[in-house]
């Protein structure tokens, strides 16, 4: 059965809340995991494993990275100082509906890309993965 993002929202909210020790109501779709919710790398690991346990949908941190970089080689995604270039920004605008490069106040670096990822982006990724599993 294909899971809609509405089905997955409570799963994600609970996973994030338990991992971060916050209330589920704080986990809003437009909240960024790292910035707004304060998750660190270890928390992201925890969140994804909790989601996997409950939903049986496996998403790794690497999967998120693959979404964000889209298979674009590092040297084509950013410059040698890891500043995301036009190719990278175009890709991010394609995969992250909320992202608009015109709103950047400073150059976006590679280690800042993950900070753009929101709860909704995670929901969308989970739903896509669930749909792909159903189709297989």
């Amino acid at each position: 059965m294909t899971l809609a993002t509405t089905d997955l929202l409570p799963v994600v909210q609970d996973a994030v809340a338990e991992a971060l020790g916050i209330d589920a109501e704080e986990v809003q779709p437009d909240a960024t995991l790292l910035g707004d919710l304060g998750a660190e790398s270890i928390d992201l690991l925890d969140i994804l494993f909790r989601i996997e346990r409950v939903s049986k949908i496996k998403i790794t941190v690497n999967d998120i990275g693959d979404l964000l970089q889209g298979g674009i080689p590092d040297e084509e995604f950013g410059d040698e100082n890891e500043v995301v270039n036009d190719t990278g920004l175009t890709h991010l605008e394609k995969v992250l509906p909320q992202f608009d490069r015109s709103q950047l106040t400073e150059p976006l670096t590679a280690d800042g890309v993950l900070g753009l990822f929101t709860v909704q982006n995670l929901l969308d990724l989970l739903a896509d993965r669930a749909a792909a599993a159903d189709a297989a």
């Binding site: 690991l45 925890d46 494993f49 909790r50 346990r53 990275g65 590092d74 040297e75 670096t109 590679a110």
Partner: protein, 144 residues
């Protein structure tokens, strides 16, 4: 031209790592290599501290290389102890690829833990020229 020095530091609560691995044991194999797990398991009374230190080391390397963990597997960064006990870094996969791109030729890592916290500090020396050769097993070993 002088070499470029990249640094990275990470501090992690030992209890946070312990909680993660206790509640979700399957995470261990996704984050740590067999060698790292064996090393830490042999230090029973401080297993969590050693694991936390290695977790911090992986984060510190990612920070030094300028990329988020999402861009590489956690096991791409491995802490290996030399015969003297001194830790050194071994990079694989995507992390090794990024290191080559940054022309990294040497790395130092130091770990410590106290008062419930584990810290790792990494220093990478990068040449302005071509990077180091990869080892036959596909890893880039950088002696400490």
């Amino acid at each position: 031209m002088p070499p470029e020095i990249l640094v990275g530091t990470d501090l992690v609560a030992v209890e946070r790592v312990h909680r993660l691995l206790s509640e979700q044991p399957e995470v261990a194999g996704r984050v740590f290599t067999d060698r790292e797990l064996s090393y830490c398991a042999a230090r029973r009374s401080r297993r969590s501290e050693h694991l936390a230190g290695r977790f911090a080391a992986k984060e510190a390397v990612f920070k030094a290389l300028g990329g988020a963990p999402a861009m590489a597997d956690w096991t791409d960064v491995e802490v290996v102890n030399q015969a003297s006990g001194r830790p050194s870094l071994r990079l694989h996969g995507r992390a090794a690829s990024v290191a080559r791109r940054r022309h990294m030729r040497h790395a130092e890592v130091t770990l410590s833990h106290a008062a419930g916290l584990a810290i790792a500090h990494v220093l990478l020396v990068c040449d302005p020229g071509p990077g180091p050769d990869t080892t036959e097993n596909g890893g880039t070993h950088v002696p400490g």
